[in-house]
């Protein structure tokens, strides 16, 4: 009787969702295996961590209150009063940071393997936009606990946006919801973090994954004689092994270094010394600190911001600029550009922490 009901349910769903075709596609799907295929796993790990972000974020919404008088208190309650609240929040914060770190790894590995070349240009573009979105997630989420560090880091961050030529003031007011960091800012950041950005991210993730599935994984240039392994279950098992190891790492971090609550923000207090943004923004932050006040006829800070924007745009357009890779030829110039960028980001980030008085 039970198998009969099960079959009926399966048939009902199959007719409507074309499940048999999906399974057939999954069984046929293969992944190339070669000496660089290790880097394929970072995409899956990022997707797994995004899933954790959604799940833990949704749970935090049960207790978080986006109000300047209650935000910090609600986080404190989550950390000490809610059963396993400390774990959920720590997992959310730690995985957010690990996720951004791995997104950088995923992006650079894709870059150096030249996986962006035709016909995967849009996979690269959506991936780059996802990195920007996740950094925006980080920036908006950082303020939500309404603590001293996040409050002043947001002030510094939005001041930088405000120094943009022509649109600076307008942009700063739009981001902050007024002239300074206030309740309006917290409400906006909360809305960005839980409504606008997730919607945009889910759309882009959908396109990105769809492109990966339809176009398949890219093989590095000149990689001949590679064999393919089935996506299901072989590749998925390897993916699951990576996810398991990440889970152990996150567990250890959460138990031994639970994410701090910090001191409640006091808008009337003086800016504490050594204020800096989250680590993934520090390469830009340190650049702004060390650039001379004037470079030629333009203000140094404005030049640096315009440089980041132009650089980001060019980076996104790499698949269309690297014509040699598009013709399946090696493009060492772009490899060197990538290496220089990776070294620049690494050096600037290390300098932020090694020489804080720079």
């Amino acid at each position: 009787m039970a198998p009969k009901i099960g079959k009926s349910v399966w048939n009902f769903l199959d007719e409507r969702f074309l499940l048999s075709q999906l399974i057939a596609f999954g069984k046929k799907k293969t992944v190339p295996e070669h000496r660089h295929s290790f880097w394929y796993f970072f995409g899956g790990i990022c997707l797994f961590l995004t899933g954790i972000q959604v799940a833990t974020g949704a749970m935090l919404l049960l207790y978080y209150t986006p109000h300047v008088d209650a935000a910090h208190e609600s986080i404190r309650f989550i950390m000490s009063g809610v059963k396993f609240g400390w774990l959920i929040r720590s997992v959310h914060s730690w995985t957010a940071n690990i996720l951004i770190g791995l997104l950088f790894v995923h992006m650079f590995s894709t870059f150096f393997l030249k996986a962006y070349r035709k016909p995967r240009e849009l996979t690269w573009v959506t991936g780059f936009l996802l990195l920007v979105l996740f950094m925006a997630f980080g920036f908006s989420g950082y303020l939500l606990p309404w603590n001293e560090l996040s409050y002043f880091a947001t002030r510094v961050g939005t001041d930088i946006a405000g120094s943009l030529p022509f649109i600076g003031n307008w942009l700063k007011t739009i981001i902050l919801g007024g002239p300074e960091v206030s309740q309006a800012t917290l409400s906006r950041f909360f809305w960005f973090h839980v409504a606008l950005l997730p919607l945009a991210a889910l759309t882009l993730i959908g396109i990105h994954v769809l492109l990966v599935q339809t176009l398949g994984m890219s093989k590095p240039i000149g990689e001949r004689g590679t064999k393919d392994i089935p996506f299901f279950p072989d590749f998925l098992y390897k993916d699951a092994l990576g996810w398991t190891l990440i889970l152990v790492l996150v567990g250890v971090l959460c138990v031994f270094l639970p994410w701090e609550i910090g001191t409640k923000a006091d808008p009337l207090a003086p800016t504490p010394l050594g204020i800096k943004p989250e680590w993934y923004f520090t390469f830009m932050f340190t650049t702004l600190k060390i650039i001379p006040p004037h470079v030629g006829f333009i203000e140094g800070e404005k030049l640096a911001i315009l440089g980041f924007m132009a650089g980001g745009l060019l980076w996104m357009m790499i698949p269309f600029l690297d014509r040699r890779a598009g013709r399946e030829k090696r493009s060492p110039l772009f490899t060197w550009i990538g290496l220089a960028l990776a070294a620049y980001i690494a050096v600037m980030t290390v300098l932020t922490y090694a020489l804080p008085k720079l």
Partner: protein, 422 residues
């Protein structure tokens, strides 16, 4: 008073400095060409509070700055630089004149000169000792800043140095009975710590105890009144205590007898009791009732402090292990208040009151201790949970790794579903 008059006054106040420096001033023109010492007043006056209000050289020194000729400029109204003994009267000419001061700063007091005349400095000056401090020694002469300016010699954190410049000078103080170690003593005190390290401008400096224009060493009988300005509850407790009568009979200066004067250190329970660091033994002989009471108070306070530290240690351990104990830390702050209250009550020698306060404190500490132990239990639970989860995840990972290897071998042997050559 019509609107026009108000506007005229506001414009005068706002633009007077410009006018003062914009119009002809032969004093400035000449002094700018003289040697450093005679040139210095011109530069210093630019940042002077008097110049801000539009006053210039002639307002203090007289003369006619419109004239280029030296003799015409130094007309009969010219006063020149006053003698040192004349400086209080020179400054007091305006600063004691309420009507004159009202035009510039109606809130400024005008009793400085009369206060100065009652001060030790003023008395000595009157008797012909011109080494004593006059207005310019504390305020400067041509670069005088408002006392509210942090650059002013009379801003709270500059006052110890301003007074100390003379009072630490052994040569200047020679022949007087005034010691010269006050500044060093003050710098070592709890008050200096509050002022210089915490930047607490309410911390007392020299003039808060001695007065400023009427500066005078407080007499033995008035020391307690001086301290009570900031420590009223302690003073009230002391007045009601048996010590009050005893100290009066001994001629001891209440607070100062136990805490000292310039070098007042942070009070601790070590001051109470019968050992060599305690002050009680200075008067109470071994075996006396006071001696026994001191020992008992010390025992009670030490016990309370030990419990307090143990509870604080528990919270620190739990915090170090990553458990949030902020609620318990707030409770511990209440206990800190109780501990301070208990210590303060020793000034009244109310042993019953102290015992009651300590008992209340112990009850609060018990609550903190329970919270601390609970937090440590939570830390242990988390670690155990992590260990179990890690073992389970490790087993799962090993199983996956084995499965992956088996599948790879199967593919190599050509059994697998993949294996196609690209």
């Amino acid at each position: 008073m019509n609107i026009r008059a108000i506007r005229l006054f506001a414009a005068t106040v706002l633009f007077a400095p410009l006018l003062a420096f914009g119009q002809k001033n032969s004093c400035v023109e000449c002094h700018n060409q003289l040697d450093d010492e005679l040139k210095a007043p011109v530069a210093a006056l630019a940042a002077d509070v008097h110049a801000e209000y539009g006053l210039s050289c002639k307002d203090c020194h007289g003369g006619n700055p419109d004239k280029d000729d030296l003799d015409l400029a130094k007309d009969k109204s010219f006063k020149g630089a006053p003698k040192r003994s004349q400086i209080p009267l020179f400054c007091g000419g305006c600063h004691s004149d309420a009507a004159a001061m009202r035009a510039f700063n109606p809130a400024l007091r005008t009793d400085q000169l009369s206060q100065y005349e009652t001060s030790r400095h003023g008395q000595l000056l009157k008797s012909g000792d011109t080494k004593v401090a006059v207005c310019t020694d504390c305020h400067g002469s041509h670069g005088i800043q408002s006392a509210r300016s942090p650059k002013s010699l009379t801003f709270p954190w500059n006052i110890p140095q301003t007074c100390g410049r003379c009072h630490s000078d052994k040569g200047l103080m020679e022949g007087t009975r005034v010691p010269t170690d006050q500044l060093d003593d003050y710098k070592a005190s709890v008050h200096a710590k509050a002022l210089f390290e915490k930047k607490d401008l309410s911390a007392p400096v020299c003039n808060d105890c001695h007065g400023n224009h009427g500066a005078f060493p407080p007499s033995v009988t008035s020391v307690a009144s001086v301290c009570r300005q900031c420590h009223p509850s302690t003073g009230e407790l002391f007045i009601k205590s048996p010590h009050k009568k005893a100290f009066d009979e001994l001629g001891a200066g209440e607070c100062e007898a136990c805490h000292g004067n310039h070098k007042i250190l942070a009070a601790s329970t070590a001051m109470i009791g019968t050992d060599k660091h305690a002050v009680c033994g200075q008067c109470h002989e071994k075996g006396s009732r006071g001696f026994e009471t001191a020992a008992e108070l010390r025992r009670d306070l030490d016990g309370f402090e030990t419990s307090f530290r143990a509870a604080a240690d528990l919270l620190a351990q739990a915090k170090q292990k990553g458990v949030d104990v902020s609620d318990a830390e707030y409770k511990l702050l209440d206990v800190t208040t109780i501990l301070v209250t208990a210590k303060n009550l020793t000034h009244g020698l109310d042993t019953a009151g102290i015992a009651k306060t300590i008992s209340e404190g112990e009850a609060s500490i018990a609550g903190v201790r329970t919270a601390g132990e609970k937090a440590l239990d939570e830390a242990r639970f988390r670690r155990r949970g992590l260990a179990v989860t890690t073992v389970l995840l490790a087993l799962f990972a090993v199983a996956l790794a084995l499965k992956i290897r088996r599948m790879a071998r199967a593919r190599q042997m050509g059994d697998g579903p993949g294996g196609s050559r690209a």
